[in-house]
């Protein structure tokens, strides 16, 4: 296999709170714990997980908005995790970012022209006229009328604003796009428009995507590979069809079973009870163990490693290879009862 374009190696991000006036320093929030992911050219890797799983923190760490606590982010063979100043700006040419909220990521006092030309002037050193020409081409790429260059962000709907956010990210012709929940703030019909746009941009421009989302269906639609995160760790990783058709990790199973579907009004599948543990005080062993319907004593003693079970399908579970227990009704109620106690 060829070399990955972007390689995340042992990245951790801990947020430590300020020391209290009296008493000890509170334990740091372990937002991202030892993540290893490879992104190959032309890949679209989806990172899914629920709120608080560290997926957005990971995205921001990769692009350099926040520095990682430890670990390497290797772009084309060199570690970019601690770059600053000019070297960091050089990386911005190649790795760009699309924000979740299109309205708060566009400066209300700037015109679209100013927003789109900024990266071309600052990063590529283009003059204003050349930037103008390319800004018009960019607008065309994201299916917006070039006249809109004169407008301010508040004059656009959410979907249009997100198109501008995407255009801004594409302004320097980057190789890798990190997309942080780019469609979750949008209405369903607009979401489909943006997903369609992202797909056609990817094939037209040969982009590589790292796509963060909480929506499994969106990820399955857009991505070839998927990593499932929970409480700062990757639980399962592999091609989309393996993950979604034959999940090996109980958490992935629970996520899939939780999606309401009109075809199965009465779902008898496993449901998760209890809440996410405190990321400043993660449970011992497997992070999912207190809520897991398959957990045993072993799970709380040691943390299962992310092991490859063939064809790049990795899972961090001691029972990833064992068959699912039969999905009988008693299992469900039992699981709920047990975990409800633990979560209290």
């Amino acid at each position: 296999m060829s070399e990955p374009v972007l390689s995340i190696r042992g990245v951790r991000k801990y947020f430590s709170e300020r020391r209290r006036l009296f008493g000890s320093t509170p334990p740091p929030i372990q937002a991202v714990q030892n993540i290893n992911l490879d992104l190959y050219s032309g890949d679209s890797l989806g990172v899914v997980g629920e709120s608080g799983c560290g997926k957005s923190t990971l995205a921001r760490t990769i692009v350099g908005i926040i520095p990682p606590t430890s670990g390497e982010i290797v772009y084309r063979g060199s570690d970019i995790a601690s770059l600053k100043g000019r070297e960091r700006r050089e990386i911005y040419k190649h790795i760009q970012f699309v924000f979740q909220d299109p309205t708060s990521s566009l400066n209300p006092r700037k015109t679209v022209r100013e927003i789109l030309s900024a990266p071309m002037i600052e990063l590529l050193g283009l003059d204003k006229r050349e930037a103008e020409r390319r800004a018009q081409a960019l607008m065309d790429k994201v299916n917006m009328r070039p006249e809109f260059l004169d407008r301010h962000p508040h004059e656009f709907s959410g979907g249009q604003a997100q198109r501008i956010g995407i255009a801004r990210a594409l302004a320097t012709n980057p190789e890798v796009l990190i997309l942080d929940e780019p469609v979750s703030a949008l209405d369903v019909s607009i979401q489909a428009q943006i997903l369609q746009l992202l797909k056609s941009l990817k094939s037209d421009l040969g982009l590589t995507y790292l796509f963060i989302s909480h929506d499994l269906a969106v990820v399955d639609n857009l991505c070839d590979r998927v990593a499932v995160m929970y409480l700062g760790s990757v639980m399962e990783e592999g091609s989309a069809h393996r993950i979604f058709d034959n999940p090996r990790h109980p958490y992935t199973n629970v996520l899939l079973a939780s999606i309401p579907h009109p075809d199965q009004h009465e779902t008898t599948s496993i449901r998760l009870s209890g809440d996410l543990p405190n990321p400043a005080d993660p449970p011992p062993g497997c992070p999912f163990q207190p809520r897991c319907y398959r957990a045993t004593a072993q799970c709380s003693q040691s943390k299962p490693a992310l092991i490859d079970y063939g064809s790049g399908h990795k899972a961090a579970c001691f029972y990833a290879d064992a068959p699912e227990p039969p999905p009988a009704a008693p299992l469900e109620s039992q699981a709920v009862a047990e975990t409800a106690d633990v979560s209290g």
């Binding site: 629920e50 709120s51 921001r60 692009v63 908005i65 911005y92 970012f97 924000f99 708060s104 990521s105 400066n107 209300p108 006092r109 700037k110 015109t111 927003i115 900024a118 990266p119 600052e122 990063l123 004169d150 979907g159 249009q160 956010g165 990210a169 209405d187 369903v188 019909s189 607009i190 979401q191 489909a192 428009q193 997903l195 369609q196 909480h214 499994l216 269906a217 969106v218 399955d220 639609n221 069809h241 979604f244 058709d245 079973a257 939780s258 309401p260 579907h261 009109p262 075809d263 009004h265 779902t267 449901r271 998760l272 009870s273 209890g274 809440d275 996410l276 409800a340 106690d341 979560s343």
Partner: protein, 692 residues
């Protein structure tokens, strides 16, 4: 660029001139500024030439319109030249304070940490002294004189700017567009002055407009004390000081400069208010109108309702007997403990179109909405938020309202109990009936009685609907006590029961928790417990799971389902997600641009959507397993609700639209006999052609 800035500027100007007092202030300022600017060419006596023969002349003396002071100097001339100096000093002091103060504020907010601490502690030290004392100390060190007074006043006012600007900047620094600018390659300098400063500018301007008047007063104060303008230079403050010694014999010498100061400062403050209105519309005087306790009902509709009610009462007396037999106990809820206000139940006023044979009478329905029309009235637009919305909800059933943002689903839900804020909301037409009891135009006490009691709401974001200052137990107990005559202890016990009912583990301990101590899912359970507090007949849940994670959403959906089955509550469930609606509802109405476009059972709509919008909306929702499939997105955007097309509102995005679609409004028509309650309806002239 100018093309897009001009309309905003024009709008601002219009808003400024809308404020009459600000225009008066602006007039005063322009007049004063013009006169003082023209001082050198006006035919005035020299302000400093003394003429002891003409000492203390009263106003009206020949050659001295406003008289003279104790050295025989012309007061008019000194006033004009003095105003010139006072204005110049006040404005330059403001400019210096604004520039230095804003710079400190913006830099300390942007960098934070040590820089912030150092700068702001310095500012705190400046603020620890009474400002006049500080100014006196500075002048004492530098020596008296106008220039030194100017420096003193600038220094004294720097903290105002620093603090205001820092406060405004701190909230902006964390916004994503700052990150985006950094990713665009901008350095800190460009981010500070190119991205942040334009957004902080309104705050700076507002602070200037509120402090410039003060600065002029302070300049006058220092001069009055003899520390500012030195004789013979005239300045409003020193003139006031000079006049003080003759205040008993010649009051005009002190009064006239005093009046000029007064008028000048009033003018500045009026203009400042006007500017603030333009730049910060939320603070506008009179803009902070609290919404009315119930949505306004259009006057014509209200009059018609009253007339109908009177008619019904007359007709009802004769009809009363046979209706009682037709619907035994229909008007009474099962709870029985509610003690509804005396039942002036009225019959179905508008004789709705499709009440075929087996349909229950309106007096048996916990909720019946007919032709509801709620609009938002804005200064120059009427937003048709909900138009002609009708649905029935029988006891114990669940109805879903599905639609995207702006479809009118929430407005419909809030209109039921008059919870749409007025202004701008107004119910224009239609009726909402609870067991036959009309709620549109009902008196406020009646609406209050129903709110949270017979009809309860669950909102999308439990964090904003719960009060952060009270424990969740107190808030549930409060909901109980609002409608039930129980003691505090009983209410608390009931709160515990309710928390058990919504399956909050370890409810007894959690009862004292505050909302922020609970997770999103737990908070939503509290929201549900509050909705259940008075055993309501109807629960209206507005996107109750949208803010939650998918695993938590599954828990909440199941809880709602359980509660509905166990307690026979009727449910209106609003969501944009067909999957979620289908998990709890039997019947769905689909809304688009304020109208119902389709209704029917979950299965029917899922298997055979009749309206092109429903069909295409469901087609463009990605599903797990639909790997890489091309999504057929709906092109374009929904229409603006204040400029709706004459015909079908979906026509311009529809691939089935023909000419007839755009010429006239399309009615919602019955397509087939429906199930499980209500007909299968669709608002499309080509619905009959659908054969999927």
């Amino acid at each position: 660029m100018s093309g897009s800035v001009r309309p905003r500027f024009g709008a601002g100007l219009r808003r400024f001139f809308y404020n009459r007092l600000a225009v008066v202030g602006l007039g005063i300022l322009i007049a004063i500024a013009a006169v003082s600017l023209l001082a050198p060419i006006l035919p005035l006596a020299h302000p400093n030439i003394t003429d002891l023969a003409m000492r203390i002349m009263p106003p009206g003396t020949e050659g001295h319109v406003l008289g003279t002071d104790q050295l025989g100097r012309d007061i008019l001339s000194r006033l004009i030249w003095g105003t010139r100096i006072s204005l110049a000093v006040g404005l330059s002091a403001t400019a210096i304070a604004a520039i230095i103060g804003s710079l400190i504020g913006i830099v300390s907010a942007f960098y934070g940490g040590v820089i912030d601490n150092t700068l702001m502690r310095g500012i705190d030290m400046l603020m620890a002294f009474p400002y006049i004392l500080l100014a006196l100390a500075i002048v004492a060190v530098l020596g008296p004189g106008l220039f030194n007074a100017l420096i003193a006043i600038s220094v004294v006012n720097i903290p105002f700017f620093a603090r205001n600007v820092r406060g405004a900047t701190v909230s902006l620094v964390r916004l994503e567009y700052i990150d985006a600018a950094r990713l665009s390659g901008k350095n800190n300098f460009k981010i500070l002055f190119g991205e942040l400063l334009p957004n902080v500018m309104p705050v700076i301007v507002i602070t200037i407009s509120t402090t410039v008047g003060w600065m002029i007063l302070e300049t006058a104060g220092l001069s009055f004390l003899g520390l500012g303008a030195q004789p013979p230079t005239p300045d409003l403050g020193s003139m006031l000081g000079d006049g003080r010694s003759v205040i008993l014999t010649a009051p005009h010498v002190a009064t006239l400069p005093g009046l000029v100061i007064l008028v000048l400062v009033i003018g500045i403050n009026l203009v400042g208010d006007g500017l603030r209105d333009v730049l910060d519309p939320y603070l506008r005087a009179g803009a902070l109108v609290s919404p009315r306790p119930a949505t306004e009902v259009d006057a014509k509709l209200l009059a018609r309702k009253r007339a109908e009610k009177a008619d019904d009462r007359r007709a009802g007396e004769s009809e009363d007997g046979n209706r009682k037999t037709g619907a035994p106990g229909g008007a009474q809820s099962d709870g029985g403990d509610s003690g509804q206000p005396d039942g002036d139940a009225q019959s179905d006023g508008d004789g709705s179109g499709h009440s075929d044979g087996g349909a229950p009478h309106i007096s048996e329905l916990p909720l019946s909405v007919r032709n509801l029309r709620t609009w938002f009235w804005q200064r120059d637009a009427q937003i048709h938020a909900a138009d002609d919305v009708s649905f029935d909800l029988p006891k114990g059933r669940a109805l879903g309202i599905m639609g995207e943002s702006g479809s009118g689903k929430s407005v419909t839900a809030l209109s039921v109990l008059g919870l749409v804020p007025t202004p701008p909301g107004r119910i224009m037409d239609g009726s909402v009936a609870y067991y036959g009891e009309e709620l549109v135009g009902a008196p406020l006490e009646k609406l209050r009685f129903y709110r949270g009691n017979r009809i309860a709401y669950i909102f999308q974001n439990p964090m904003t609907s719960l009060n952060p200052l009270f424990s969740v137990g107190e808030q549930i107990a409060e909901a109980v006590r609002r409608h039930q005559p129980v003691t505090g202890e009983e209410a608390r016990a009931k709160a515990g029961e309710l928390m058990d009912m919504v399956q909050i583990p370890d409810a007894r301990r959690r009862i004292n928790d505050y909302p922020h101590q609970l997770s999103g899912g737990m908070r939503q359970r509290i929201g549900i417990a509050i909705a259940l507090a008075n055993d309501p007949d109807v629960i209206i849940a507005d996107e109750p799971t949208t803010a939650l994670d998918v695993t938590i959403q599954a828990q909440i959906l199941r809880l709602l389902e359980d509660l509905r089955e166990r307690y026979g509550v009727s449910l209106v469930f609003i969501s944009h997600d067909f999957g979620v609606v289908s998990a709890v509802c039997e019947r769905i109405v689909v809304m688009y641009a304020g109208e119902i476009v389709e209704s029917g059972s979950v299965e029917e709509i899922y298997r055979r959507p009749l309206h092109p919008y429903t069909r295409r909306l469901m087609a463009c929702v990605p599903k797990v397993g639909s790997r890489g499939a091309e999504m057929d997105a709906i092109p374009g955007l929904p229409p603006a609700l204040d400029r709706l097309p004459a015909g079908c509102r979906f026509a311009d995005r529809c691939d089935m639209a023909i000419e007839a679609c755009t010429s006239a409004p399309v009615p919602l028509e019955e397509h087939a006999n429906g199930s499980p309650f209500g007909a299968r309806e669709v608002r499309c002239i080509r619905a009959k052609e659908v054969t999927v």
